[in-house]
Symmetry: C2
Amino acid sequence: MPDTFYRERQRNLVQQVRKEGCDAVLVCSRGTLRWLCGFSGSNGALLLTESGSWFFTDGRYGGEAQGLVSSGAASAVGIVSSALPAAVFGLPDFSGAIRDITEAAGHSARIAVEADHVTVASHEAMLAAVSEHACACRLCPLSGLAEALRAIKGVAERDAMTRALRLTESVFLDVLTLVQEGVSENDLAAEIDFRQKRAGASRSSFEPIVAFGRNSARPHARPGPDRLAPATPILFDFGCELDGYCSDMTRMACLGRPPPEFMRIWSVVNAAREAAVEAAVAGMSTLVLDQTARRVIEEEGHGEHFVHSLGHGLGIDVHEWPSVSHRAAHILQEHMVVTIEPGIYLEGRFGIRLEDTIVITGAHCERLNRLSTETVIL
Amino acid sequence: MPDTFYRERQRNLVQQVRKEGCDAVLVCSRGTLRWLCGFSGSNGALLLTESGSWFFTDGRYGGEAQGLVSSGAASAVGIVSSALPAAVFGLPDFSGAIRDITEAAGHSARIAVEADHVTVASHEAMLAAVSEHACACRLCPLSGLAEALRAIKGVAERDAMTRALRLTESVFLDVLTLVQEGVSENDLAAEIDFRQKRAGASRSSFEPIVAFGRNSARPHARPGPDRLAPATPILFDFGCELDGYCSDMTRMACLGRPPPEFMRIWSVVNAAREAAVEAAVAGMSTLVLDQTARRVIEEEGHGEHFVHSLGHGLGIDVHEWPSVSHRAAHILQEHMVVTIEPGIYLEGRFGIRLEDTIVITGAHCERLNRLSTETVIL
């Protein structure tokens, strides 16, 4: 991403926390750090105020941290030798920034922290550090600040996600040539991961799911040593990370002709998927979208077999805002990217899930997938 | 693991929380759930009391949850339709268990929760649920309870980790045959991951690190498109998960003869590693062990280039207790399994890290690695 993107995102997040009555925000979660400054390591913290940004990490990432300053993604860096984020409260740079805020605001600085990512122990360590270093600040745990901003994807982000999906689709077609009697779930899953990386992905979005026959009745089956027998349905669910953004796709195949019952259930799941893709539009509640697909499945008597949410936001993280579920309401907005993945799971027999990715537009939505959702008969 | 192991671990954890004045413990972290009952999914909660164990998850894992009851790893299960763990406070099973505790104890139940894993938002949601459902209980966030127990490995666990390391060592030797001019870091990393899985691993412990030349000066380099030139040092750091347990190993290789400066630095790192392996013994503080290796490096004038901890505990998670670091003191105990991985990083030139895995015994320690730490010249 060009560095102007990072600076704009940082400004937007500071504006957002100011609306909540805070003067600064301390970000530690991995996905949001990547979105705000491009840092992709496992341990960092970014303090954002109206006047600047301070990045903190440990010695392992000293080189990366210096790179953030050279590129303009951070205005200063600090290397800490003990556990982040509490350790930053003792650093001169950090307390200097807090002092500046306090003087400008005329009251002790209110620092937003990520309530959905900071643990209870880490929060207590931060409070202890505030008191130990007599930092004139107050911590305000808040939920979903950056998540709401991250949910709206820019052109470059949508482009990266489209390219990640193209790569995943092409690897799917490629791996279908390996499907034959006797191949194992483990074999196919390893091939998928390998081929995605060889085609340029930095990693799989998650460990690929390949599930044969009744294993597919478990929505989050892990691949195992089972070997493929004729007339067995196969569920593939995988994706990759390309230029920092994820793809996620689920398709069904069958070695030989699947039983008629399978095809009947497939039509129900596919109709549910289609109904949701048709209905999705900016301004709609995600509860309503979930309900749109769920009703199709319920009307066919399989409501109790659709045991998960309809979908989820997709981006730097494979699961991010908005939630597309019967549990939490978000409002769909233009340029949100979400998955639509209804499923029906018949314990002891088989499961069917079909997953597309859509971008919300003003007039309905754009489906990013090129591949159809037909069951591939091999 | 045999199910008697799970029941014993559950009993030990309940005893541990009782020492802290609690009547029950609610576990949600992934590694500890796996250790306590074998569940390997992404969303679960286990309530342990002296009289039983209740496992809670969402609809996606209904099949797995039933399996826990059949095998005796849990005495009952509940499926929740909203966000764990707060949702469990409204379930009849859960409140029944709390009522039993309260009646037996004659005071409101004190439930330990994992301070290092529960987020501030989740903790607040649990407190709200306690009040909404008028649950007669108090939450007690505590650190490191299960982590301290998990750090002491049983025979079957040490055996799984030894087998995981053998697999990793064999893949390392195998992948060395692919090292040639023009191969990329990405290619080699993808091959490592693929070959570990093909050899029976369920996954890599972490995305394999392959770093050429000056890239190796970044301790947590991510593989990239760089292609190998002659006389370039290569750092390999990878491991796999086998039967639920991790391996983790770092070795150096070089295409052609490395420069004399490289060999000199290698001897320093290797001497530091050897000093730590020689010194490690039950009863020793991990601060002292870290210092033993760090002093060797400092005496050669490279203290500032050893920018991370000496090592970490290894098990179900690739980083677990004990910490082996200059920051936090743990006491080494018999049957702890830790990595020893000193490194020297020369920005812009190269980095050298050598990583072994040891089991602490009464008399010193047992080194699990079979492969030497010599630089492999190719």
